[in-house]
Amino acid sequence: MRRWLALLLALCCAALAVPAAAQSPADAAYGRLASDSYGDIEAGIAALATTGDPRAGAVLRALADGRLLYRADDRALAIRDGAALADARTGAALASADGFKPVRVNNRVRRAIDAATGTLNLVAPDPATRRAAAEAVFKARDAAALPALDAAIARETDAGLRRTLQEARAAALLARPGTPEIDRLGAVDALRERGDGDAMALLRGLAADPAQSVRDAAARAIAGIETRLAIVANVQNAWYGISLGSVLLLAAIGLAITFGVMGIINMAHGEMVMLGAYTTFLVQEGFRRSAPDLFDWSLPIAIPLAFLAAGAVGVLIERLVIRHLYGRPLETLLATWGISLILQQAVRSVFGPTNREVGAPSYMSGAFDLFGLSITWGRLWIVVFAMAVFVGLNLILKATSFGLKTRAVTQNRRMAAAMGIRTPWVDAMTFGLGSGIAGIAGVALSQIDNVSPNLGQGYIIDSFLVVVFGGVGNLWGTLVAALSLGVANKFLEPYAGAVLGKILLLVFIILFIQKRPRGLFALKGRAVES
């Protein structure tokens, strides 16, 4: 019935418009798009969405992608597709691009496109598109979308999607002036079930509702959502903490080998991390040049390469410098500090002082929702990766013959040598292993931080603190220390602020070391007593 009315109305309008300007509503809408005023373009988009013109979807998509061109003198519109050019109104191919400029897009226009394509896509065949469309309509809070929403709800078969559509409808109903009280109450219910920040934002808007019942329902719904969000916030904090902890763990675990196991105060550790990050950059550059389609493989390939690159540099450093300094642990600090200066400047000379772009593969972009918890894929992978590195390293040290030799050499060099172990070889390999692990960490850190010559400097102090707090020479200590510092930091941050939180943690570590001068998990035995 309603649809018939709309059709009738459209026909009337068309009948009135044709004799007057010889222009259809679609034509008029297209005309407004061919402008450099954002206001006109915005109005054109809204008009186009309601005309039902079959080409509207394609035109709006082109506009969103910056592929819609216009010519100012005759208001012609064209869609660029690669090198080809087609008339936006008819789809006919155009020969020349003379005088065409891209239609400009700003946030206002982008919002209008989202709302318009949302309405258009509510009945798209692909469920993911429909979901995105429903969310866009929810955010747009546009009463004009109600008929389209009603039609979509009637057709929708997926229960979850229908709920999203109902929420979008609730938002639209509340935005429309004159919605009956009973519908407003229904809308409040739908929003309460949605239960997130966006829903609360809408409910807050009802504080001035004329009906007492609606105001009360909204207040109750808000209270309910707040309680829920508070719980979620705590879980979220814990997750942030774990994720920060994994970053600390990654940064520190290589140091747990070179400093913790070998006793070298390795100030060049951060630079090994940096080398890993730059290896990632090089690998990605290679992929961008030769095989952009396989970009998602860049990280899996960068991991072994970063290990080898940083490991090789580590072995080189050990052979050239550090092997002369065994038994003089404090002097390794000076030499490795010098090495770190050289490495930083080398990278600066080769790659320039500015940040280098390291992109995120598709599986590390974006976030997903888990019971109201927003978890970003990138962080999740880093947590998984950190744990995998930890387990792998433990296996190497505990379950391989190389690991056995490493432990033998670091515990008692002379005895190990007497047993026939090639201690120089073991030293070089162990330092290489620690450096290589740092390189791997660089691959992960390149995803969340600057890839610049200063990358390593930002992590070196934290790394030493983690290793010392956990107990030198103990990998499990490093794990526990990293995670607990991460979580503590994230729970302090909302109350104390980022800076004060960090200061408090530093003071805590200083005091903690007084209580347990050898860290959380102190090694026992004669070797450590001095």
Partner: protein, 427 residues
């Protein structure tokens, strides 16, 4: 072993001797220009570009025949992002190398550190970076933006175009964000924004974990009013900040972020596809289509032999400052600092975006203000610009302490003249 350290000492002595000899040999034939930008340490990331830009400008001027019939000679030193070293190097440039003018500094603290040196030895400093204002010194020419040339127009744009009612002022904890946010807070309140709709937060330098901050921005933004973030987050911390914004899905259409310290150079390190639509306010964008800018970019690519190098706002500031200095020296007919300082106010120079900037008596310049939206190729699309050029204000009209102060080095010969008491403050 004896040999190695002896040889080393000998070499160091030779290097030092050569440096002294080189300094003495070329002192007479050229006009020396000092370049005081960090080439190592944390600020190298931003400042190295400016050193290259200055070398290019000097080379170009020499190709045009130099200045006053002499060739220009650039003296480059590395203050290594170390603030006391800035003062030491400034002193070295002026007293030992006898440079006639210095182009340099990026952070406010480096400028504050060299200020006494320039006053004492009476030389000229061109400072090319947007800063917090609240300063006007006889020996310094500020070619970057004052707060009224960047922050206030940006907020106006957000209020008008994006209908923003709720504000997060997010900054790194140092003087530029503190002052800018103070000015913005006063300005927003004067426009009727309520205190509970403004959230001010500071993070430390080099903040790399933004998870909690971004999530609290999201929740602050879900209070039913259109929210925007005004970011004065400093250099290094921006990449992780934007990466986190992208990952947590804070889209420009929901909560736009307008930044004052993020330009083409900073974006070169990030994939900008998820950031499309976030904003920046500057006085120059590389994407601005004017013949002068095209020419400048082409020269820059040729000079750096890298067709991908970007240009940015502080580079344009150096371009304007350097050309103003050249004109002033030509007008004065000498490089004598006192004469050049007197000749500079009133000097006009076409900027790269189509207008003509003028050095004002308060040693700041007139500049256009552009609001750009981030595009997917790391560039900005200008969505708004001011009508004409905005004169830089040394003293903010929004702050209690400074609204009565006026800087005028032409008539009043004073950088902080108090209009109420009619006295020139300071020493």
């Amino acid at each position: 072993m004896t040999m190695s350290w002896k040889t080393w000492l000998a070499r160091a002595a030779v290097a030092g001797g050569m440096a002294l000899a080189a300094g003495a040999a070329t002192a007479q034939e050229t006009i020396k220009v000092g370049i005081l930008h960090s080439l190592s340490g944390t600020m190298a990331i931003s400042e190295t570009t400016l050193k290259d830009a200055m070398l290019m400008l000097i080379e170009e001027q020499n190709r045009k025949g130099g200045l006053l019939g002499k060739k220009l000679e650039a003296v480059v030193v590395d203050p290594a992002s170390n603030w006391p070293l800035f003062a030491e190097k400034a002193r070295e440039l002026i007293a030992k190398d006898k440079v006639t003018a210095v182009f340099g500094c990026w952070t406010s603290v480096s400028r504050k550190s060299v200020l006494p040196v320039f006053k004492e030895l009476n030389s000229v400093l061109f400072y090319p970076v947007q800063y917090e204002g609240e300063e006007s010194e006889r020996n310094v020419f500020y070619t970057g933006a004052a707060p009224n040339q960047q922050a206030i127009p940006a907020v106006d744009y957000l209020m008008k175009e994006e209908k923003v009612e709720r504000w997060v002022l997010e900054g790194t904890d140092y003087v530029y964000p503190r002052t800018t946010n103070k000015i913005l807070e006063a300005y927003l309140k004067s426009k009727g924004v309520k205190a509970e709709d403004i959230s001010i937060n500071y993070t430390p330098f080099g903040q790399s974990d933004w998870q909690s901050r971004v999530s609290s921005i999201k929740s602050f933004g879900s209070a039913g009013k259109k929210t925007a973030v005004v970011s004065t987050v400093n250099g290094d911390a921006n990449v992780p900040f934007y990466k986190e914004l992208a990952n947590q899905g804070v889209k420009a259409t929901d909560i736009p972020v307008v930044a004052f310290s993020v330009g083409e150079e900073e974006l070169a390190g990030i994939d900008t596809k998820p950031l499309v639509g976030h904003l920046a306010a500057w006085n120059y964008f590389m994407s601005i289509d004017t013949p002068a800018n095209k020419d400048f970019i082409a020269k820059w690519h040729a000079f750096t032999k890298n067709p991908k190098r970007v240009t940015n706002d502080p580079m344009e500031a150096h371009y304007i400052g350097f050309n103003m200095w050249v004109k002033a020296v030509e007008k004065a007919g000498t490089t004598d600092p006192d004469k050049v300082i007197d000749a500079l106010p009133g000097t006009k120079q076409a900027n790269l975006t189509g207008g003509t900037s003028e050095m004002l008596p308060n040693h700041h310049i007139t500049k256009p203000v552009f609001i750009g939206e981030i595009k997917d190729n790391g560039q900005f699309d200008v969505v708004w610009k001011t009508e004409g050029l905005i004169p830089g204000e040394a003293w903010s009209k929004q702050l209690d302490g400074s609204k009565d102060l006026e800087a005028d080095w032409v008539k009043l010969k004073c950088g902080n003249y108090n209009t109420k008491t009619g006295k020139c403050g300071g020493a």
